[in-house]
């Protein structure tokens, strides 16, 4: 049985609940006992807005807004990682989990990361977009599903069957 093949599974997370669901789905289903798979948790930070040091009105922008932004961003990353941790903490002993943070346009970064890491699979959640719940995929998941060469699993929010 060639079950010892190592597989790299990238799970893209963001601040949404759906991506946490995608993460827990992957942990439950993609890591059978005895497999040697690696979970790569990828979070993409939105790109930093660029501030020039002198704005249009001629005032010099001090370092404070930039520092505040950095702090906010840092907190955001921490909160997403903490939430992911509560999801995967039960599995930590059995699975290799790597955490990566990227910055920039989410869809591009995810596709590049999957390519660079030579991932075997990508798992991504999808946002529910109001009326069009079933008609639209999130733009990021759709883009990635089309662009990426490896198999993609798109996890949707489970309809409440109870």
């Amino acid at each position: 049985m060639e079950e010892t093949k190592e597989r790299k599974i990238v799970v893209a997370v963001d601040e949404s609940e759906e991506s946490m669901e995608a993460l827990s789905w992957s942990l439950d289903n993609l890591f059978p006992y005895g497999s040697n798979n690696t979970l790569i948790l990828l979070y993409v930070k939105p790109p930093l807005p660029v501030y020039s040091s002198i704005d249009a009105a001629g005032f010099i922008v001090t370092g404070d807004p930039v520092a505040a932004l950095n702090k906010y961003e840092h907190e955001l990353v921490e909160s997403v990682m903490a939430r992911s941790q509560t999801v995967y903490q039960d599995f930590e002993s059995d699975i290799n989990i790597e955490r990566r943070v990227g910055r920039g346009d989410a869809k591009e970064v995810i596709c590049n990361a999957v390519q660079k890491l030579r991932a075997d699979m990508l798992v991504i959640g999808t946002h529910d977009y109001g009326f069009f719940k079933r008609a639209l995929l999130g733009s990021v998941s759709e883009y990635c599903a089309k662009r990426v060469k490896c198999p993609v699993i798109i996890v949707k929010k489970k309809a409440q069957n109870n």
């Binding site: 669901e21 993609l30 995929l137 198999p151 949707k156 309809a159």
Partner: protein, 194 residues
């Protein structure tokens, strides 16, 4: 008057103390995986991929293992279309014998495909069932997913030739949008042209 064994009833379900969101979603192991196949090689590639990766969940040796459903959708033959016939140009409607002949060949094609799929599955001891549906492929697949409470739908994806980047194939695209369960899209490796 000794009490024999004390029955300990442990509350197995942990209630995590998340105050912000609702309970953490209890995602159970997959019980039912559906793979849609057609004549294309990429759908068989998808089937093979599912078997390779999820065999631990689907093997017959497991008492409570999952079930792999292989589905093939037949596009119905439009028997009420008129067929221009002969040099006279008079249109002829398909005769019942012709309809039957076409139906028969469709059945045969379906059976051949599904038996090919079954062979692949049996070789790896996968618990499988087959299903034939008639109608518009994308629609029927999504309906089947809903009715049969499928946990994961796997589809191949041919892509549409030159428009490679814009589409992943119309059936897989539609299913990705409309299916109610998680969907796995398997793309064939570059060597496969079809």
């Amino acid at each position: 008057m000794e009490t024999t064994t004390v029955m300990e009833r442990k509350m197995v379900e942990k209630q995590p103390e998340t105050t912000v969101e609702a309970e953490t979603p209890s995602v159970t192991k997959m019980k039912r995986i559906m793979v849609a196949i057609d004549e294309s090689d990429s759908s068989f590639y998808a089937l093979q991929w599912v078997i390779d990766h999820f065999s631990s969940l689907l093997v017959t040796t497991l008492a409570e293992g999952g079930l792999l459903t292989v589905v093939h959708v037949q596009t119905p033959f439009q028997h009420f279309t008129a067929f221009p016939a002969g040099p006279g140009g008079a249109t002829v409607y398909a005769s019942s014998s012709m309809i039957e002949a076409v139906k028969k060949s469709q059945q045969e094609a379906s059976t051949a495909l599904l038996s090919r799929a079954l062979q692949i599955c049996r070789a790896k001891q996968i618990r499988t069932e087959t299903l034939v549906l008639e109608g518009d492929a994308k629609d029927m697949i999504c309906r089947a997913v809903e009715q049969m409470h499928v946990d994961l739908l796997a589809v191949g994806s041919r892509g549409l030739g030159k428009i490679k980047r814009a589409f992943i194939g119309s059936v897989s695209d539609y299913c990705a949008h409309h299916s109610k369960c998680p969907i796995l899209i398997v793309k064939p490796p570059k060597e496969m042209t079809h």
